[in-house]
Amino acid sequence: MTDDTKEMSCAAFQAQLPELIGAGVNVSAHPHVQSCELCRALLSDLETIAEAARQLFPIEEPPDKLWDQIELRIRTEKGTEG
């Protein structure tokens, strides 16, 4: 990072953001984030969303009929093979 990044526009910073986040860089330490409230809020939101999503999905139970359908298909396939 150079001093130029401090003067970076929000658009320029955001254009780099997918790559920075994907590379695992500590984006919150980026000079632009340090000096830009909007981009800091954006980053905070994205981190909050990602964290919330990780804890979101429960393990779901499929309906009982599904096994009946699978068994039927297995029998059909075996019949076709035979």
Binding site: P18, G22, D45, L46, I49, A50, A53, R54, E60, P62
Partner: protein, 224 residues
């Protein structure tokens, strides 16, 4: 290695369909049975024991169904895909050689089943990306809004769930694979046959879209 986590094996020569894909780092609850018990059931199922296969279904159905449901966001489709995944498992189970954990292998198989189905439906990440490209005035740099509109630390679970369900298919797919299932961008790129940069970009756009949806939801709540 803890029982509850899937290890990161080397690429599997006996893996179904798409290769290179290593399993997720997170989540990974592999419940209710011991490895020894799993092995015994597996061996019997591989030998054609239908009861053992039924037992495998019973052990893994929740995890596979939940995966399908997250990826497609539709109950009927998730049921069809779960059915297809277990039919594929039935056809291919004899080819499993134990180079990775069975649950890892099955997880990958199910992901591939979903991806194949999405491809059949014409999901194209590139075309989707182009179609979803926002108009200049809607780009994130201008749509930030004031800082006081930023999301609060706590996100309403139902609102987030709804926002994810409403994501365009391609965005949801990458979001689920990365943020929920824990795949890395290089793994997603291999699975989806896109560039790593595209995977990163799509994920970012998915998160931006979620943020926008959640902010709108918050604002609507505030007006009531």
């Amino acid at each position: 290695m803890p029982e509850s986590r899937i290890p990161h094996p080397a690429p599997q020569p006996d893996a179904p369909s798409v290769e290179i894909v290593t399993p997720p780092e997170q989540e990974r609850v592999i419940p209710v049975f011991t490895p020894a018990g799993d092995d015994a059931v597996l061996v019997r199922a591989q030998a054609g024991d239908h009861q053992a296969f039924a037992q495998l279904y019973s052990l893994h159905k929740r995890r596979i169904y939940s995966l399908c449901l997250r990826m497609v966001g539709n109950i009927a489709e998730a049921e069809d895909l779960t059915q297809e995944a277990f039919l594929q498992l039935h056809r291919k189970i004899a080819t499993f050689r134990g180079d990775s954990a069975f649950s890892t292998w099955l997880h990958r198989l199910a992901v591939n089943v979903v991806l194949m189905q999405l491809r059949k439906k014409g999901l194209s990440l590139i075309s989707l990306d182009e179609a979803m490209e926002p108009a200049p005035e809607e780009r994130p740099g201008r749509s930030f809004g004031a800082p006081d509109l930023a999301l609060s630390g706590a996100i309403d679970r139902l609102a987030l769930q709804k926002a994810i369900d409403e994501l365009p298919a391609g965005y949801r797919l990458i979001f689920v694979l990365h943020d929920i299932e824990g795949y890395e961008h290089n793994e997603i790129a291999a699975m989806l046959e896109c560039s790593i940069g595209n995977s990163k970009s799509q994920l970012h756009k998915a998160r931006l879209k979620l943020r926008e949806t959640l902010r709108m939801s918050t604002q609507e709540e505030g007006r009531r």
